[in-house]
């Protein structure tokens, strides 16, 4: 058994409007950062998992994303596994 650190990035799909990101973009422009062209806000979920195999971990976290951590209708996710 090893301890794996997993990072799951959940982002709104590009076709889904992100009003929060738009507001942050406007605020950045107001601060003078006019070169910023877009801002999108997502979530970072960190998991600590005990398992013997990285492949296993990846597979299970992918399942977790489909069932709970991300909503496939509106969100994409990326799973990164570190030992």
């Amino acid at each position: 058994m090893k301890e794996f650190k997993v990072k799951v990035e959940v982002k709104l799909k590009p076709v889904v409007l992100d009003p929060q990101g738009k507001t942050v973009l406007t605020a950045l422009h107001n601060l003078g950062y006019e070169k910023v062209e877009d801002a999108r806000i997502g979530k970072l979920i960190e998991l600590k998992i005990m398992d013997s195999d990285a492949g296993n971990v990846r597979e299970r976290v992918n399942d977790m994303c489909k069932k709970l951590l991300a909503n496939p209708v509106i969100e994409d996710f990326v799973v990164k596994v570190e030992e």
Partner: protein, 239 residues
């Protein structure tokens, strides 16, 4: 008299309003149903009320959709029984997959709490059977994440199967961008599943069910459910 079950999740806050409207305004039997319960067979209709179940953590309705009671609600719905999700209840229904699409942050980023107009788009289901297509209802909304979103394929299917029940509209019943409080696709305010026995809607019918609340049109939805039960279920005769 029929038995309505009102699901109570941690963080539900319109459960008592629903109870009051159904029990005291409509005179039906009503019981709260804790989210750990799995036996829902005794009910004729299940209500998923508004609120902030599980603090809206992760995504609105996402944690509630995995609670024990929802497995039983799913079976209850698949058997053709009426299920209505209001506001957070609608969010739970889309997260559980009982209804298509998703509800995302209002395009204004603001929590909207106001009276809106909703046009009846379809009355061939058990929730709006007593209304006419084109009728304009005045109902309050109160939500931060009521912006209905779905894929173009899902939207096409919703339209083709007449699953869109309510759209936000102007005073006169026109579907305009100004009358859309949250940015929902095609002004969608409420939809049913394909079979027509599961309704999700953002506006709150329980908040306009009697005169003292300045509106009674919300009562129509509950009355339509009761008429359907009259036709399709034997009265259980519970005192």
């Amino acid at each position: 008299m029929y038995k309505f079950g009102i699901v109570v999740f941690p963080g539900s806050n319109c459960d008592h309003d629903c109870y009051y409207a159904i029990k005291h305004v409509l005179g039906q039997d009503c019981e709260f149903l804790w989210h750990h319960e799995t036996d829902v067979e005794r009910f004729d209709c299940i209500v998923l009320p508004g609120g902030f179940s599980y603090g809206d953590y992760l995504r609105t309705g996402s944690i509630a959709s995995l609670s024990p009671v929802m497995k039983s609600v799913e079976k209850f719905a698949q058997a053709g029984n009426p299920v209505i999700g209001i506001c957070n209840g609608f969010q739970v229904l889309v997260e559980s997959g009982l209804l298509p699409g998703a509800l995302i942050k209002n395009s204004s980023l603001k929590f909207v709490c106001k009276w809106i107009k909703a046009r009846v788009e379809n009355n061939r289901n058990l929730f709006t059977d007593n209304m006419k297509v084109g009728d304009v209802l005045e109902i309050p909304v109160a939500h931060g994440e009521g912006n209905y979103f779905c894929t173009p394929e899902e939207l096409k299917a919703l339209n083709e199967n007449s699953q869109i029940v309510f759209r936000y509209c102007s005073e006169k019943g026109d579907i305009t961008p100004e009358s859309n409080p949250n940015g929902s696709i095609e002004n969608i305010a409420g939809i049913t599943n394909k079979a027509g026995n599961v309704l999700g809607m953002m506006p709150h019918p329980e908040r306009c069910a009697e005169e003292i609340l300045n509106g009674t049109q919300g009562r129509l939805i509950f009355e339509s459910i009761i008429s359907w039960l009259n036709l399709n279920k034997k009265v259980t005769g519970r005192a």
